[in-house]
């Protein structure tokens, strides 16, 4: 892949990942949020694929296909089923309102760029310059977990954190050794399955997927 095309496609895909993260804070409808997550999964796989093609690394290409399958298809489908079962799937009253949380997301992006200066300085390539985008996605996911009330939104926030870390791992180190990558992906998948099971139990016990209802244990 020649230079400028490689650089601009990589930048584009990383940009898509960050925009999808912002969209999860922007939209109130949970099904739209899950779709944004699916697009983000595909973009993440595309980043790994581009890096694998560039470095002629067959292992990385296999990992890219796995990532696309699990984060682009399997996990959004699992979440989509939970969203479909709950008719009130809208984040009607987040703790921080939408415009303020969007401005917060912009501030977190600045923070990410500031905090990752040493990493960017260590890797002078195109891929290295895009590492702050992964950190920004991570921070936005963390923020989303804190300010959203619905259980599904917390799962979405967790997946954003994980996608951001995966992006950083791919860009900075062209993926960690295969064993660890497989273990990490499997763990994320299992975590989502567990959360989905818990959400189903919560639905049957509490009748609603609102985390505000979970207030019985406190000091």
């Amino acid at each position: 892949m020649n230079g400028p095309a490689y650089a601009s496609t990589l930048e584009l895909m990383s940009g898509v990942i960050l925009v999808c993260a912002v969209v999860t804070l922007w939209r109130r409808s949970l099904s739209a949020v899950v779709k944004a997550l699916a697009i983000q999964g595909f973009a993440l796989g595309a980043v790994a694929l581009i890096l694998g093609i560039r470095q002629h690394d067959a292992v990385l290409i296999v990992v890219a296909c796995l990532v696309m399958a699990s984060k682009g298809v399997v996990i959004p489908t699992l979440l989509g089923r939970v969203v479909a079962s709950d008719p009130s799937s809208r984040e009607a009253t987040p703790i921080v309102n939408v415009p303020a949380s969007l401005v917060g997301a912009a501030a977190l992006t600045f923070l990410a760029y500031g905090a990752t200066q040493p990493v960017v300085a260590l890797i002078p390539t195109t891929a290295g310059r895009l590492v702050p985008l992964g950190f920004a996605t991570l921070l936005i996911g963390f923020f989303s977990m804190v300010v959203r009330r619905k259980a599904i939104s917390q799962i979405v926030g967790l997946l954003l954190v994980d996608n951001g870390i995966a992006l950083v791992a791919f860009l900075a180190t062209a993926g960690v050794p295969l064993l660890v990558e497989l273990g990490a992906s499997l763990d994320v998948l299992l975590a989502v399955v567990v959360l989905r099971v818990l959400a189903a139990q919560m639905w049957s016990k509490f009748g609603v997927l609102d985390l505000d209802q979970l207030r019985e244990l406190r000091d």
């Binding site: 095309a5 601009s8 584009l12 940009g15 925009v19 922007w26 969007l102 401005v103 992006t109």
Partner: protein, 320 residues
């Protein structure tokens, strides 16, 4: 070419762009209405209906409310004047428009803003409640959209190291991969949201509503009649065409004339017309499937546009 010939050529180019934008703008509005009607299962008015409407309006009697001052009459005039100026100096048909060195993106935005502010003042001047309501709503939306627009322009200017609009279009023609950069894409995404806000299209404002309480833009025009209304209609359609023209020339600059010559300028105008028509059809189709947002939800949409622009600017600043 001598200086005099240069001036004549520049004047011709400016005139051509102005005429295209004004006539084409009205035709664009007609096309959009036609597309909407077809998608809604109606036949709809003919495409040149807005032209006929404006011509009819200019033949009618001028009427002013009793308590209005000169501001009321000046509103439409300033609106059209600013649109004409921007049409003359923007790189719509050619990358070397007349007075191109003054065509700074920030300056163009401010001139267009001058037009919309004057219209709002004119509506406020009528002293009627609907005029005031429309003005305040329009200005609220403007106050949210303008910062986003400025940051989006910043995001587009940083990689090119200039905010001069013809230079931006020329660089887009010369280096196509610059258009696919995330900074440019994010900024243009934000630009689309802002165009919808500034020109009063769905989901922010319904241009064909007849219920006063849901009006934002139409409420400002309730008191205008005759030639004033004709001027306003013309000015509004020119603004929409200008904004769309700038968007398409920044996104897909092919077809814009790079060399001087009558043929290439005609091709440029044709390409502009085609691209803007496509953009208008896309907006009209989108409008059929969208519902109008409640007024207090509009800030959310515009905040999203603002954040997209900020992300574009940050990406442009760091990823070089």
């Amino acid at each position: 070419m001598t200086g005099f010939q240069n001036v004549v050529a520049a004047g011709l180019v400016a005139g051509a762009q102005i005429v295209t934008v004004s006539v084409g703008g009205l035709l664009l509005v007609g096309v959009m209405r036609k597309v909407r009607s077809h998608l809604e299962g109606r036949v709809g008015p003919p495409i040149h209906q807005p032209l006929l409407d404006v011509r009819k309006l200019f033949t009618k009697q001028r009427m002013h409310p009793e308590q209005a001052s000169w501001v009321f009459g000046a509103g439409p005039v300033v609106l059209v004047a600013t649109a004409v100026v921007v049409a003359a100096i923007s790189p719509l048909a050619t990358t070397r428009p007349p007075l191109g060195r003054s065509a700074d993106f920030f300056a163009i935005v401010f001139v267009l803003l001058l037009g919309s502010v004057s219209l709002a003042l004119g509506a406020l001047d009528t002293g009627t409640p609907f005029g005031g309501m429309g003005s305040s709503r329009a200005m609220t939306i403007g106050a949210l959209a303008e910062p986003a627009l400025l940051v989006a322009i910043l995001a587009m200017s940083i990689p090119a190291h200039t905010s001069n609009l013809p230079v931006l279009v020329r660089m887009g023609l010369a280096h196509p991969e610059m258009i696919a950069s995330p900074a440019r894409i994010l900024a243009l995404g934000s630009f689309v949201v802002i165009i919808l806000a500034e020109s009063g299209r769905l989901p922010i404002d319904n241009p064909s509503t007849h219920l006063e309480l849901t009006m934002i833009h139409e409420a400002m025009l309730l008191e205008y009649a005759g030639p004033d209304l004709g001027l306003v209609t013309l000015g509004e359609s020119m603004r929409l065409t200008l904004l769309l023209g700038l968007l398409v020339n920044l996104l897909v600059p092919w077809g814009v004339a790079d060399r001087p010559g009558a043929v290439s300028i005609v091709i440029g105008l044709g390409a502009l017309a085609g691209k803007v028509a496509l953009a208008g059809i896309a907006i009209a189709t989108f409008e059929v499937f969208t519902a109008k947002l409640r007024l207090f939800r509009v800030p959310e949409l515009l905040a999203g546009g603002f954040v997209l622009a900020v992300l574009g600017a940050v990406t442009a600043l760091v990823v070089r």
